[in-house]
Point group: C2
Chain length 397, copies 2
């Protein structure tokens, strides 16, 4: 709970900048069934409609169903916990009356999924609870505030992400010992998942696709794919995309090997050319990943490198925040496509932690994918992972 | 996927009744991080903004980011899967143009959390994608439709819930063998959780509070509480609230034991009186749990029994749907309190599956809680669990 307490302090300090006097961080119900990306600032799941409010001066109040009061008090995070039986209306209006905020932030964003907490139905309920009060007209979006709080990592958060990365790098070393002809994608996925579970850690995304494993040439275009019965063979690229959650913080890394054919001492030229282009795309993006740049500017550098090297234009963004989860919301290092909303416009800040990635399909051989984590510092970005600089070659036996 | 396919057929059949010509079942992004209670009709999690549409004639289309296309096609659930790179706008408008629905249902509800799928930000995005088309003005709430689809269980769903109940009842039998003086609440919770994990099953709610365990008198009022260091002692009630998810369907059951003191052959009179009142409250509610009744009418019968027996008025609803999760949304068997929204008004239907429950605090002894599952049939309700009819007595050694 120490990190959560520090994040609430950070949030209070950022409210003035975003013109939010009171932030309704979460207004939700049954968050065990319908998760809220803001729950990390609340500290627990709740059952009945609940409001978690933070004032610009740092005071905080939780308004929860009486059955949840004990567990929320037990967190020790909220200055005041008010329980209710029939309706949260009176407590909510009373808190707002006493703070009298000019602008009341509600956590929603059309661009940033991790800052889009409130459901449409709960927004309607909130408006109805504030009917015939002056507060209904004072509701504004707190989406950008939520995104900045999430994406400006505290030193303890960066350390926690680094711990997840280090464990993931150990898993990649263990994967290398398993990569032999005849191994199937599914067999490798099962082994990797058992190692993670035995260590008591979690998956940074759905385990059906974690890790993503690609052995050899793909019949389908690049995408989020489920490992299949394909066997690793000499002359195959072996590509693994893996994200592990350790103590609530996540990694997201990709590594690539080439299984030499009999008599080969190096990968074929077209494989080497693609690996070099992939690495150069990572480096081109990293070179401009610094405070004040917009995400689309970083993406453009990386994208241009790939096109200039003669490969098809990537259909994905170059990077995304990493934190509690692998896709941690806020700004995207991506093109200004509608599917990314306004997130490619968000200026990069110090203490952002990004995954930067590039994938290329090498016809006849398979997929090359590299993905690293990097933290933004004053004048540039520093890798948090140990970046893969060379294609890793495996002997056929 | 067979149940999901049957549920989509059931949904198409119910659309006309609810005046929905095309149902946008899910319009979401990053559902791995921000879960959608409608995902059970989609069959998978998605990353980029995606629309899953069902027409009243049963035709279905999924519009997903190109990286998700392969995995959604692989489900075999959606007649057509359209991938996009930059924006879902064109595909979405094209599908609506070809179906030309008069009323387009969007899944939100201010009352029913499990039918409140779309976030506020995604609703805004949907409106923006439909700008300058006739479809923006045709959006209506599909919340009641979603609730009916979820709560009218198919035979396979009832069977799957019964399987979860049977496993849970086995766990209760095993719990009884552990209840000895000196056992702490936390020790018992850890044991129960290890049995569930070893069996490969899941938790019907957050595992921090699953099972809820109450040994002896409580200093706090009834509520969602976390097991502590309290030791079981002779003269204590032992109360366990446990929900287990087996193959995607859940149970939610409560059982109560009394640990006899030296020389006792039965529980004290005040304990017996409270147990009888609890059982009678269950029976009173069950007697009126039938198609056509409103939830609040069922709750009122049970509530009246408790008050007439001289106990304080319960602060909780008498019952809730059980299915994919323990609190499965739709109607509540509860009082018309604002926190339950309109859900106590929803008429009960055949093939609804409810948890019915009553808890009483017995000062000096602890908590009595009974909770059963029941399926509604043509003329009444039938227990799916083997109901606890007597207080279970334990010898002190």
């Amino acid at each position: 709970m120490d990190i959560t307490r520090a994040k609430l302090r950070q949030a209070a300090e950022l409210m003035q900048k975003h013109g939010v006097d009171c932030w309704i961080i979460e207004f939700a119900r049954e968050t065990g069934n319908h998760s809220d990306p803001l729950a990390y600032l609340v500290g627990a799941q709740i059952t009945w409609p609940s409001a978690f409010l933070l004032n610009h001066d740092g005071r905080s109040v939780a308004i929860v169903g009486s059955g949840d009061k004990g567990q929320i008090e037990g967190l020790g995070l909220w200055d005041e916990v008010r329980g209710y039986v029939a309706s949260p209306r009176d407590e909510l209006v009373n808190v707002l009356r006493s703070w009298d905020p000019g602008r009341i932030g509600v956590t929603w964003s059309d661009s940033d999924s991790m800052s889009d907490g409130i459901t449409y139905g709960m927004y309607k309920m909130l408006e109805s609870l504030l009917d015939r009060t002056p507060y209904k007209e004072r509701l504004v979006s707190a989406g950008e505030l939520a995104g900045e709080v999430r994406s400006r990592k505290l030193p303890d958060e960066i350390e926690a992400i680094h711990t997840a990365i280090s464990f993931t790098e150990q898993v990649f070393q263990r994967i290398a010992t398993q990569l032999k002809p005849g191994l199937t994608e599914i067999q490798l996925q099962k082994s990797v998942q058992s190692w993670i579970r035995e260590a008591g850690h979690g998956f940074a995304w759905e385990d059906r696709m974690n890790p993503i494993i690609d052995f050899g040439p793909k019949s389908e275009p690049l995408g989020h794919s489920i490992p299949g019965e394909t066997k690793l063979e000499p002359g195959h690229l072996a590509h693994v995309d893996l994200g592990i959650t350790v103590d609530g913080f996540s990694s997201d890394l990709q590594r690539t090997w080439y299984l030499l054919r009999d008599g080969e001492t190096d990968a074929p030229d077209e494989v080497k050319k693609a690996f070099t282009a992939t690495r150069q795309a990572i480096d081109a993006g990293m070179a401009v990943l610094k405070p004040g740049k917009a995400g689309h500017e970083v993406d453009a550098e990386s994208r241009r490198t790939i096109i200039e090297a003669g490969f098809p234009e990537p259909q994905f963004a170059f990077g995304h925040h990493v934190g509690r989860v692998a896709h941690d919301g806020a700004g995207t290092l991506g093109p200004r496509w509608e599917r990314y909303g306004k997130t490619p416009e968000i200026p990069i800040q110090a203490d952002n932690v990004f995954a930067v990635e590039m994938d290329l399909d090498v016809p006849g051989y398979g997929v090359i994918g590299l993905e690293e984590e990097a933290v933004v510092e004053g004048h540039g970005a520093r890798f948090l992972s140990n970046p893969q600089r060379e294609l890793w070659l495996l002997k056929p036996r």
